[in-house]
């Protein structure tokens, strides 16, 4: 990347048809004070107020790199490449996806293309959900869970239509499946725009994980009628003892290689034995980005926190195999 050129921030909007994506999009366009190029796949509920709106026909393509979960969006690579030629005319890109779209190929397009990766970055994936219908969608469709798993921010929309018990249940389910997502309540798509922008959701130095995650043992969840058997779950782990570098890196590599397809999101801040810097990683399916980050601060607990969101993960087995990577007690 050439010095002095900052990468364009890209915000991805996901959510089912009718959840209020377009309303939120227009709210962002009006309130953010920024100039956006908008990429849409479906001309949905109402018009979009942007000056530069590009329609693209969704084209999900499998890359031939030995990983069937490595998919990119050909339409996005094409449109974003074209937009980059107009650099200077807008401050960021908003991508509105179709109701049932999987966000992974969108994010992976920005990771897997040299030209685009150097010029643009996914700043956040915002998932808009309808307060009244979300739990039912989650039980009925695989897509709702997948969209939730990829979200860096979840906007619970139409709160004025739902009672507090419903909202609490929605928030509990979001916290269970994606504990590191920021959750906002909104009526008619009105949320403070600063809560949606400048998230740096895929930038390792800005990775934050909750200090006291949900317990790692799989909890019993009442399964509504018709729920998929390949149940989506989130496995969060905290390890107190440092991890031995080569065995942990091997463990992580094996995990994404063997289960990449089922692993939607992986994130971690890890204390490696003998390292005075935090080792951080985050990934989408098999594409994992990792690096040594800032040094541990003296007042910090040097523990390791890891979060895996995926289908049919065996939390007990993950925990046991990871435990084996810890250095022995002194």
């Amino acid at each position: 990347m050439s010095a002095g050129v900052s990468r364009l921030p890209v915000t991805v909007l996901t959510g089912f048809l009718g959840a209020g994506k377009t309303t939120l999009l227009n709210h962002l366009l009006r309130e953010s004070g920024r100039r956006y190029a908008v990429i849409v796949n479906e001309y949905g509920e109402i018009g979009i107020d942007g000056e530069l709106v590009v329609g693209a026909e969704e084209e999900v393509l499998e890359l031939n790199n030995g990983c069937i979960c490595c998919k990119v969006r050909g339409d996005l690579i094409r449109v974003v490449s074209g937009l980059l030629k107009r650099r200077g005319r807008f401050d960021g890109i908003l991508i509105e996806t179709t109701g049932l779209a999987d966000p992974a190929p969108v994010v992976q397009s920005f990771m897997a293309d040299d030209e685009i990766r150097q010029a643009a970055r996914v700043d956040g994936v915002v998932c808009v959900v309808d307060a009244c219908h979300f739990l039912a969608s989650l039980a009925r469709t695989r897509e709702a869970g997948v969209q939730l798993a990829h979200a860096s921010t979840v906007v619970i929309n139409k709160v004025e239509m739902a009672d507090e018990a419903t909202l609490a249940a929605v928030e509990a389910e979001i916290a269970r499946l994606n504990p590191s997502a920021t959750v906002l309540r909104s009526a008619r798509g009105a949320v403070p725009v600063e809560a949606l922008l400048d998230q740096g959701a895929y930038e390792l130095p800005r990775l934050e994980l909750p200090a006291s995650p949900a317990p790692a043992r799989p909890r019993y969840v009442a399964v509504p009628q018709g729920r998929h058997t390949d149940d989506l779950e989130c496995v969060s782990m905290v390890l107190d003892r440092p991890l031995e570098r080569s065995s942990f890196l091997g463990w992580l590599q094996r995990l994404v290689a063997e289960r990449g397809e089922k692993l939607l999101r992986t994130k971690g801040i890890v204390a490696l034995a003998g390292a005075d810097r935090r080792f951080v990683f985050q990934g989408v399916h098999m594409m994992v980005d990792s690096d040594f980050d800032r040094p541990w601060r003296s007042e910090e607990t040097r523990d390791s926190r890891l979060v895996f969101i995926g289908h049919g993960l065996d939390g007990v087995e993950l925990r046991a195999s990871l435990d084996a990577c810890q250095v022995p007690w002194p």
Binding site: N64, G82, L84, R86, E115
Partner: protein
């Protein structure tokens, strides 16, 4: 990467002219005759420079003037030389323009709402342009509209101008001007760049998956060259023999397709930079390659030699466009930050290189 101290100043300072516009250079093309080059920009401008200034007893120099015309309402996305000494330019305003300077552009096609992002010119007045999965091929007495299985990522006519290669996901299609038929060359992967060998016997494609795929069209044999750290999006064949130079690594990577095992013939040459090569252009007559880097440096280098000559130092953004004049007398280049240059390359410079 500014070149060694006490070395020759970069050739652009000695033999060239530089300009700067406020928009990225998207593409460059030389007219098939007349010594003029056209540059297409991200703000819709098309600019023309040339021919070189030749004075008795002095080395040739770059042209002084650059003529700019506002062509597209938006960005230029593609540019190609036509058969007549002019150019075709395609834009995100859905317009395909024919430009023969100094005359005003002529609108050849208008597809409102479409981004025309690839254009190619064949023989006998045929040209093609693509938008997403749609492809328009026009000749003097026909127009075909094709719908491809996936979005078109590159177009290239063979040197005879009678076969059009169309790149996309999972392979390349060949459209023949003889009977307007299509045939498909299947190959897994996402094909995003194309180049024909000058004799039309080989077709190469650059893959999103950090590899190059190459077909020998006579017998349909296919070679795959991998091991690239980045995406080889620039491909260029030598004038003679069948050596393919590519971008995608810290140096120019080349493969010799005449070897019994082409995949074992990999050679690298040029300055080993800390940034990747972003553009390559093989000289049309000699065994020399112009290589553009991600940091704006452009140099001349040749296989099997560690020597190189700087055409331009680093510091002006990735080189996005690089092309030799058809007679090899000059080089045109452009960067993402809007720097462009035309540099005369006299034969004395080229004598460094053995005839290819």
């Amino acid at each position: 990467m500014n070149g060694p101290p006490n070395a020759l100043p970069p050739l652009v300072d000695l033999l060239g002219t530089r300009w700067r516009l406020d928009a990225p250079v998207v593409a460059v093309a030389w007219a098939r005759r007349g010594g003029r080059a056209a540059f297409a920009f991200g703000d819709g401008t098309v600019a023309f420079g040339g021919p070189f200034v030749v004075r008795a007893g002095q080395p040739p120099r770059g042209p002084r003037e650059l003529n700019r015309i506002p062509a597209h309402d938006g960005a230029c996305l593609a540019l190609a030389a036509d058969g007549e000494g002019g150019f075709l330019s395609a834009g995100d305003d859905g317009r395909l323009l024919g430009i023969v300077p100094p005359a005003a552009p002529v609108e050849l096609a208008n597809q409102p709402g479409e981004w025309l992002d690839h254009v190619a010119v064949g023989a006998r007045g045929i040209h093609a342009c693509a938008s997403g999965r749609r492809l328009w091929i026009r000749g003097p007495d026909f127009e075909d509209v094709l719908t491809l299985a996936s979005g078109v990522t590159a177009l290239a006519f063979d040197p005879a101008g009678r076969t059009l290669a169309i790149a996309g996901h999972g392979g390349v299609e060949l459209w023949s001007a003889a009977d307007r038929s299509r045939r498909r060359l299947e190959a897994p992967g996402y094909h995003r760049a194309l180049a024909w060998s000058p004799d039309g016997r080989f077709l190469a494609s650059g893959l999103q998956e950090n590899a190059v795929c190459c077909w020998r069209l006579g017998d349909g044999r296919r070679f795959v060259f991998d091991g690239y750290p980045g995406q080889p999006r620039a491909l260029s064949f030598a004038a003679r023999g069948h050596t393919l130079a590519t971008s995608g690594g810290p140096r120019v990577v080349a493969w010799d397709l005449d070897r019994p095992r082409p995949a074992d013939s990999r050679i690298e040459f040029g300055y080993p930079g800390r940034v990747p090569v972003s553009a390559v252009a093989w000289h049309p007559g000699r065994g020399m390659v112009a290589a553009g880097y991600h940091n704006g440096a452009v140099l001349l280098c040749r296989p099997g030699s560690d020597q190189h000559l700087f055409v331009q130092g680093s510091g002006s953004g990735p080189v996005t466009a690089l092309a030799w004049a058809a007679d090899g007398s000059g080089l045109a280049l452009g960067t993402q930050q809007g720097e462009l240059a035309m540099v005369a390359i006299p034969p004395e410079i080229l004598s460094m290189a053995r005839a290819a």
